[in-house]
Every structure is written in C-alpha cells, then in structure tokens.
C-alpha cells in the first residue's frame, strides 16, 4: 500500500478516530475504493471495517522459531556426538536436558529476529525509505482516509469530495 510516485491522492483529515471509523464504514457501504487509512496510533476496530485480513506475522514467527529450535538442538547434537564427542561431568554425549536452555534461547532469538525482519520487509520500511507523509499532522493528531484519484473522472472526483464534506473531513489533494 505504499504511495507510488506520479499519483494524485485525494485525502480527508478527521479529528477523531470515532468519526474516522464512521466515515470508513460509510465509504465502504458506498463502495468507494479506499487507497489507505493513516492514523497516529493503532485504532482498534478499524481493521474489520476496512476489510483488512488478519496479519500472518505470527506464522512467520512460528516458522522462524522452528528453524531456531532445530538449528540449536541439531547443532549441539552434531557437535557433541559426532564432531567432537566429550564426556563432561559423567553425562552422556547426547545430554538432552542440558541442551534445552540454549535451544529455548535460540528459538526465541530466531523467531524475534525473523519476525522483525519480515515486518520491515513486507511494510517496505528501512532507513533508506523516505516516504512522504500526506500531511505532517497524520503522525500527530489527524486521521486520514486517502483515495487514489490519478485516473478518476470528474464525476468520481466530485463524488469523493462530497463524501468528505458530508463526513466532516478537511479535504486535501497531494500530487
């Protein structure tokens, strides 16, 4: 949902998340094609209204966790049974209980790093990303609904504008 270049964006700013949610509901019922909604903080209850599917990041976390657990456990197993077997404190080479703490830590480490990296990747966030915000107050106290009007006809454009006026937004255009 990143904002592409050479696009014309029509957006309305709202002062309150409740007003925004009502407006999103109305826009959905009028079948207006919302480009994105921008808020200064996570607004609970917005996702179902906006029709966003649930995030699948937790699956990513689980998979990375599995990789971490296997890496740690199989790695230690290989090192202590095959690579360089060593008797320590009379324990067997394959001392499973003693491997648990490191296996746990590496599981958590892999799951966390993997999930965070995937989060940044799918959102297109990085130190080199310099996406302009539509309006500087969006990260402060304004809530925005944006429409892509690059290819909109005059009628469609006016329809969107009147929607914003009805729902109590301050209308802006960004080229």
């Amino acid at each position: 949902m990143a904002i592409m270049e050479n696009k014309q964006i029509l957006f309305g700013l709202y002062d309150d998340e409740q007003v925004l949610m009502d407006a999103v509901k109305e826009a959905r019922s009028e079948h207006l094609d919302i480009l994105d909604v921008y808020t200064p903080f996570p607004v609970h209850g917005l996702d179902p209204i906006l029709g966003l599917a649930e995030s699948r990041l937790h699956i990513v976390g689980f998979l990375f966790g599995c990789v971490g657990a296997l890496t740690a456990f199989l790695g230690m197993t290989w090192i202590f049974t095959d690579e360089w077997p060593m008797i320590i404190g009379g324990k067997p080479y394959w001392a499973v209980p003693a491997f648990i703490p490191i296996t746990f830590e590496i599981t958590v480490l892999f799951a966390s790093i993997g999930m965070v990296v995937v989060f940044y990747a799918v959102n297109g966030l990085s130190p080199r990303t310099h996406t302009e915000v539509l309006h500087p107050r969006i990260t402060d106290d304004k809530f925005a609904i944006a429409f892509d009007t690059s290819h909109a006809t005059e009628d469609e454009f006016n329809q969107l504008k009147s929607f914003f006026e009805r729902s109590g937004a301050e209308v802006h255009i960004k080229e």
Partner: protein, 478 residues
Amino acid sequence: MSAIVSPVREPLITGSKTYHQITEDICAPTEKTPNLSWVIAFGAAVTLMAFGVFCILWTIWFGIGTWNLNRTIGWGWDITNFVWWIGIGHAGTLISAILLIFRQKWRTGVNRAAEAMTIFAVLCAALFPGIHVGRIWLVFYFFPVPNTRGPLWVNFNSPLLWDLFAISTYFTVSLLFWYMGLIPDFATIRDRASGLRKKVYSLLSFGWVGSAKHWQRFESMALILAGLATPLVLSVHTIVSFDFATSVIPGWHTTIFPPYFVAGAIFSGFAMVLTLMIITRKVLGLEDYITISHIESMNKVILVTGSMVGVAYITELFIAWYSGYVYEQFAFLNRAFGVYWWAYFAMMACNVLSPQIFWIKKMRRNIFVTFLMSIFVNIGMWFERFVIIATTLARDYLPSSWSYYTPTWVEIGIFIGTIGIFFTLYLIFTRVAPVVAIAEVKSVLKYGGDQYIDVNRKHYEEVIEHEVKKQSKQAVEA
C-alpha cells in the same frame, strides 16, 4: 464519544490532554536545548564513565591481580555487579511484555523509559563476564565459532554458556522490541522537524507513515514479541541462577534459586525504574503522564516481589536446618552471623523489612518515601548478590583456605564506571527519543484520560440516581 471506562479507575493521563497536546508535551524535551542541570548531570555521568573505562583498561593492562580476588574467593564485585545489573535489566521487559499480555494499560506511561533502562543495564552487565576472565582477547572462545585450534567447541552442558546465550538473546530481543516501538514516535518527531533533524529522524523512523495495515502488523508483532519475551525474561534470571544452583557449593546448590532470583530481579528492576522515573517526570515535566497512580502501581509490585524475596530467604534458612546436612547448615549460619554478617543484615533490612512500609497507601503514594525506598532496594539487592557470592565462598569446606575479601580501588572504580555508563546513556536517551511512548499513550487517552473518566463518572452517577428514583417510585406505587 468516549470509550467505556470504569468510573472507579484512576486516570492514567491527567490535565485533560488532547492528542496534539500529548505530542507537544512528550516531544518538547527532544526539541529544546538542554538546561544546565542536564549538562551538569551529563558531565558527572561522563566523568564517572571515564574513570570506569580507565579502571577497566588498568585491569586489562596489569591483569586480574589488580583485584583482590584470591584462591578461595574467585568471584567478588565483578559477578556481584553483573548479577545486579542483569536484575535491574528485568523491569523493562517485564513492564512492556508481561504487562502487555495482562492488558495493564498503565504500562504505557513508563514502558519506553523502562525498556531503555533495560538495554543500558544489560550492556553494563555484559561488560563483567568480558573483563572478569582477565584475558579479554580470549573472549572469542566464549562463542561456539569455528576456530583455528582444531574443532574445539564450547561446553554446551555448562550453565555459564547458557548464560551467554540467555543474555545475548535477551539483549537482542529487548533492543528489537524497544526500537520497533520507537519507530512511530520517531516519525512523529520527524514530521515536526526541519533541516538536519528531519534527515536524521527520517533515517531513524524507517519511513513510517502510519498506514492502517502497518499498524495492524505492528500490533500483531508487538503482541507476539511480548509473548516470546515473557518466558525469555523469566528464563534469563533463571539461567543466571543456574550459574550458582548447578554447582555443588553449600548455599548455592538450592532448587529455590530460579524463582527467587526472578522475583529479586523484578524487585530491583522496579526500584531502578522508580528512581529514574521520579527524577525524569519532574525534570521533563511529565507528571501528567507518569502520575502518582503509576508510582503506586509500581510500589505494589515492589511490595509483592520484596515479600517473595523475603519468603525465599526464610525458606533457605528453614531448608538448611531441615536438611540435617551440616555443611548446608553451616553455610547459612555463616551467612547470617559470619564475617560478612553486616552485608546479610543490610540485605534483610533493605529488601525484606523496608518495603513493608508500602502496605500503607499513603506511603505508596508519597514521592519522597518512594524515592528513598527505591534507593534502599537497589542497595539491598546489591548486598543480596554480594552475600550469595562472597560470603559463601569465604568459608568453604577446608578451614585452612578460609579467607576474607575487600575490593581494591580498581574494582570499585569499575562498578562506579558502569553507573556512569548507565546514566550517560540514559541522559542521551532523554534528549533524542520520546521518554514516553507517544502513540501508545494516545491509544489509551480515551480509556485513561481524566476528562473521559469524569464524563463517565457523571454518566454513571446519573444512571444510578435514575435507577434509585425508579425503584423508589415502584416501591411507593406498590
């Protein structure tokens, strides 16, 4: 328009803030030139840090012989300080992860600073294992990496190695969690800034724009990271306690160590959070976000964990007696009445007796008492680690090798130096990053803002009044 709020809840944000006012208030310290008191504090912290670095270099240059450790007492201030700092580093993740899972909304006022504190404390802690080995250039062999001495691997069965993994994982995950929360707030600062500041914060904010899908993923990830960090935070001090508990030293090899260390870590961590927060809220004018009720909540945690630690101390004594094992009995008698009796009594007084003052509500809500108590607890928890480590080692199985230990100026200097490092980093943090999580506070404004609570209370009272009238009318009619 307000969300449903319990009318009996105390407000989390006072002063009838609007969203914009929250941004203004919290961004202000990062946008102003620091005042004189900050400069003085920073100068003092850097001086201490410089002395610490000097002492560390002294140790590396001349060797561990510059410390007063001996054959009997092989761990002294170094490992005491290490465990102390790691313990302090437990509050941040506890507040941000465990309280997130328990939906404790008051955490939003303090989690950012507590997480920062965690990261800085873990950094200070991580210094000690590095330097206490004496030959820092051999620290390379801590890590299970292929090396030139044939396939020589680390001992995966050793709790000391588990500790290395626990602490590096904890540091990494805490850092990721903290930075992820900072990104939307850095974006807020970016959009208020211009010139070079804007460029720097553009880099730091990763191009965050506040899209609904991004927020959804953000929240989903925050919850899962919290879920992962919760067992992690408990595992870290458990594994630190394994460093002692898996040994065969009377006074160390007790099964109570993991829960007892974790409770102690939370206890000392909250004390350090309070020490910092009481100063920070005053200096940066954040009293509306870190209110007395936040302080009271943390004092309740201190009371609970302090009492848990107290129960653990007494349990240890009881089990030592009940075991019928003379070495164990001696270890604990020696702890309380031996050469280091003063450390034991300092520990008991600071950790077990003094927090009991928080049974009184007035004391929990008194800033001066809280501040004083937080210092007591920090001191007490340092003594706890000293008692466990030095006292136990000083009297081992052979009376001929009994010994006593006092630190040299180098050891004291390194400890003071870590305090300098900690405060230097914290003071920098208060100038460059929002000390309170802006987006998170905004998201609880309608739940915990005083203006919304008042509206709800009035509405609640009206409803009750209406019901009472209706019922009395029905009674009259009947």
